[in-house]
């Protein structure tokens, strides 16, 4: 798309030229190194072009010269706010390729950590969204505090706070440490109060309502056409969640609801995430209650050699459907590792969400789409 001044020729009478504004790549509201070239007619957005690639690390190519287990460390860095779900998506693809089974206890641990990760990621999405809305860091710090507790739990399990590398081919790397059940139940008891507090803090705030309700609606049909997945799709009234539609691990045993709203505007996208955190907390509690005894890992070689073949496997990650496409040529390293990154594909609708709205809404639209630049560029 070429951004030119001729695109808005109906303003020629007034002798006004559209202004091309660069937001980013170092703009604090762009969630990382991401650039938006916005063509403005006064306050109104005429055209938007997302420019990305500043954080490109070549994860797909790097994966081709590492063994299957070593690639797990690369997947932590795709969407650095939800490393657990990235790990899970990748190891599920390798397990499908190599035919490795997973013990039941490991499946429960995977679901539990993935749902804790969803809480942490949605907290960040909400916090930075409200940060972008002009409430400077105070609401963000509320979210950061809860996320910090989730990261403490992850540090107890796997020793790291962001780059977990927790999942392994055929299970998880560690069993739970002693004292974990007390810690996680303490967090969950506290978290319910905190979510109620967020709702008191946010949901009736007139500024938030007027800035977000009815702004930039996305219809369900258009969302499906653009392959939008995750909370953004469910906010548009499409009840599609891989955890329900194609249950993996032990999600078929979990009791949870999928929050769906009909309007698809900014408010709904925020509200869906807020509700999903509650459902995730429910699932974590259920996992801890039903956790069976047993081993947490089947013995798979560190340098595993899957048979020749190809596989695509996707899960419902925090931002949408995260899929890995792996091709094996029988050696210790994948021949091809393709990544379907939800953030990247959700970006498709950014342009049409922003056109016709104000510049201030552009930031909010971008915030509610919940883009993670590490995953867009990978």
């Amino acid at each position: 798309m070429a951004v030119t001044s001729e695109m808005n020729s109906d303003n020629a009478n007034y002798d006004i030229e559209p202004v091309l504004l660069n937001l980013g790549p170092q703009h604090p509201s762009t969630h990382g190194v991401f650039r938006i070239r916005a063509l403005l007619d006064g306050e109104e957005v005429v055209d938007v072009e997302p420019v990305f690639g500043y954080l490109h690390r070549g994860s797909s190519k790097l994966a081709e010269e590492r063994s299957y287990t070593q690639v797990i460390t690369l997947t932590d860095r795709l969407d650095y706010l939800s490393g657990m779900t990235n790990n899970l998506a990748y190891v599920r693809a390798v397990e499908a390729l190599a035919g490795v089974g997973v013990p039941e206890r490991a499946q429960y641990l995977r679901v539990m950590t993935a749902e804790l990760m969803r809480i942490a990621s949605h907290l960040m999405a909400l916090g930075f969204l409200i940060n972008d809305l002009g409430a400077w860091v105070t609401p963000l710090m509320h979210m950061f505090r809860e996320r910090e507790k989730v990261l403490d739990l992850f540090e107890m399990i796997c020793g790291a706070r962001i780059t977990f590398s927790y999942m392994r081919i055929g299970g998880v790397s560690h069993d739970l440490p002693p004292g974990f059940d007390v810690a996680v139940n303490g967090f969950l008891d506290d978290f319910e109060d905190r979510v109620a507090e967020y709702e008191r803090l946010l949901l009736e705030n007139e500024i938030l309502v007027s800035r977000m309700k009815g702004i930039a609606p996305l219809t369900g049909e258009r969302a499906i056409e653009c392959s939008v997945t995750g909370p953004n799709l469910r906010a548009s009234g499409v009840n599609f969640d891989l955890r329900k539609q194609a249950p993996y691990e032990v999600y078929d045993r979990m009791n949870f609801d999928v929050p769906v709203t009909q309007n698809g505007d900014n408010w709904d996208r925020m509200w869906v995430r807020l509700q999903e955190m509650k459902e995730s907390a429910k699932m974590v509690r259920q996992c801890m209650a039903e956790l069976p005894d047993g081993i947490t890992r089947t013995e798979a070689d560190f340098f595993i050699r899957p048979p020749v073949g190809e596989v695509y496997s996707g899960i419902e990650a925090t931002k949408g459907e995260l899929g890995f496409y792996l091709v094996s040529d029988g050696t210790i390293a994948p021949y091809r590792c393709g990544i379907r990154a939800p953030s990247f594909i959700n970006l498709t609708v950014l342009r049409e969400l922003c056109i016709g709205w104000k510049l201030a809404d552009l930031i909010v639209n971008f915030g509610t789409l919940d883009i993670n630049v590490g995953e867009v560029d990978r």
């Binding site: 070593q70 107890m156 020793g159 440490p177 008191r200």
Partner: protein
């Protein structure tokens, strides 16, 4: 329609409620948070007597930043014992995934818990074999959950016969 601004005032009451609570943050250089026993710090703990110089850690490293040079001990059986001359771990490139710790078949390499390892140059971040010998032997329980069963929390020094999985 309620009074405009009532929702914002309701939100402010939440903020007001925080006056009575203790702060969640800590003043870092003075107060330090305690890490969990499995915490992966920026250092490594290496037990020389346990290490055979097999270089499995170097093979397992996703980045290839471990460099090992060995020579056979003169008076040992062939292939049974190697003296480690060079054991360079370039922590400037390390991502502390602990895969080297996971693959070590003799439990000779462990993660350490220190994280204040700032230096003025990249060359200072390479941990040499002398540094490894001199580092305090306070292994973290990352990939060594058997050490949690003897009550180790990563804060105490462990002898080399206690550190491995054979101590149980």
């Amino acid at each position: 329609m309620a009074l405009f601004g009532a929702g914002a005032i309701k939100g402010l009451m939440v903020t007001l409620g925080y006056i009575r609570r203790k702060p969640f943050t800590t003043q870092y250089p003075e107060d330090k948070l305690e890490q969990s026993p499995r915490f992966r710090g920026n250092t490594f703990v290496w037990y020389e007597e346990r290490c055979t110089g097999c270089a499995t850690c170097a093979k397992g490293c996703p980045l290839g930043i471990i460099r090992i040079v060995t020579h056979p001990e003169p008076h040992s059986q062939v292939g049974s014992d190697y003296h480690v001359d060079v054991f360079d771990i370039d922590t400037g490139r390390c991502m502390f995934c602990a895969l080297c710790v996971e693959v070590c078949p003799y439990d000779a390499l462990h993660m350490g818990g220190d994280f204040e390892q700032a230096s003025y140059g990249r060359e200072d971040m390479v941990i040499s074999v002398e540094d490894l010998k001199a580092m305090p032997k306070k292994p973290r329980t990352q990939f060594r959950p058997q050490m949690e069963m003897i009550g180790h929390t990563g804060k105490d020094e462990l002898e080399e016969h206690e550190a491995g999985r054979w101590s149980l």
